[in-house]
């Protein structure tokens, strides 16, 4: 273990979380909404929740946000 976290984050599980596949499906739209200054978590609440709890998809989201932001 390296980065500090909370027990709450370690055990984060929410029924509204849509999972990796469905988040990937909307990830491009989610990122463009963010880049446009919109509240992406209101348009894609289940995906936004998933991105908080899934380290792998969160990493992909960060990379996509950086790449699309440079366009």
């Amino acid at each position: 273990m390296s980065d500090p976290t909370t027990l709450d984050q370690l055990l984060a599980a929410d029924a509204a979380d849509v999972g990796c596949d469905d988040t990937f499906e909307v990830l491009d739209r989610h990122v463009e909404a963010e880049l446009a200054g919109e509240d992406a978590s209101r348009r894609y609440p289940g995906a936004a929740l998933h991105l908080r709890n899934c380290p792998a998809c969160r990493e992909d989201h960060a990379g996509l946000h950086a790449a699309a932001g440079e366009e």
């Binding site: 273990m1 709450d8 370690l10 055990l11 790449a67 699309a68």
Partner: protein, 215 residues
């Protein structure tokens, strides 16, 4: 103001349309567009492996090789799924998400080969140093961690225990574990999700309710 009905597809922007047309056509135009797409994805993959380099323990030619593999496989995935692109985002944003996924997959495979031990072993002594919201009272803290450890050992199935220990405690990339277990990211996450629910229930039953979590 004219409102479009929700079921109508979004209009595709001209640049995205030109990408899609170029990839759908045959012959030289197709080959040129594929080459342009690969170059675009390779640049994104190189930037992405560089962004993640701190966690990779890879450098130089191996890092470049990883980026090239990710770009190649992303092109294949994009061509296979091109009919699924409706123009709801820019084509390049849609394409980039495939290369990000491929970079994660390649990093996962590399991690599984380089650090197999971290997948199964857990050092419980280090956990209190990392968790920032443990009770201040030493007795409460010890009881909570003992309950958590007992629940990990006794309440979880073997697969749930393996996934929780690797991903949540040892920060093994989920794609590395997916590679190791012959699974996929979505299935690993579902197992992690179920493990977290069980552990929360065990902690709650022992009087250690967590904040801010719904299930």
């Amino acid at each position: 103001m004219v409102r479009r009905a929700r079921y109508l597809p979004s209009p595709m922007d001209a640049v995205s349309r030109s990408w899609v047309d170029g990839l759908r056509t045959l012959g030289r135009q197709h080959d040129l567009t594929v080459a342009r797409l690969r170059a675009l994805l390779l640049r994104a993959a190189c930037r992405e492996v560089w962004r993640r380099r701190a966690t990779l323990h890879v450098a130089g030619a191996e890092l470049d090789d990883l980026a090239h593999q990710a770009a190649d496989d992303a092109v294949v995935a994009i061509l296979a799924k091109l009919d699924g692109f409706r123009g709801d985002s820019r084509f390049t944003t849609w394409a980039y998400k495939f290369v990000m996924l491929e970079v994660s997959t390649k990093i996962g495979r590399h991690f599984a080969r380089a650090s197999p031990a971290r997948i199964d072993e857990v050092d419980w002594e280090q956990i209190p140093d990392r968790l920032t919201d443990l009770p201040e009272q030493r007795v409460e803290r010890r009881e909570l961690l003992a309950t958590l450890r007992r629940a990990v050992d006794e309440e979880l199935s073997e697969r749930q225990r393996r996934v929780f220990v690797a991903v949540a405690l040892n920060e093994v990339p989920m794609d590395a574990l997916a590679h190791e277990l012959g699974s996929n990211r979505n299935a690993i996450y579902k197992t992690l999700f179920d493990a977290r629910l069980k552990l929360k229930a065990s902690l709650a039953a022992a009087g250690h309710a967590l904040e801010g979590s719904r299930s």
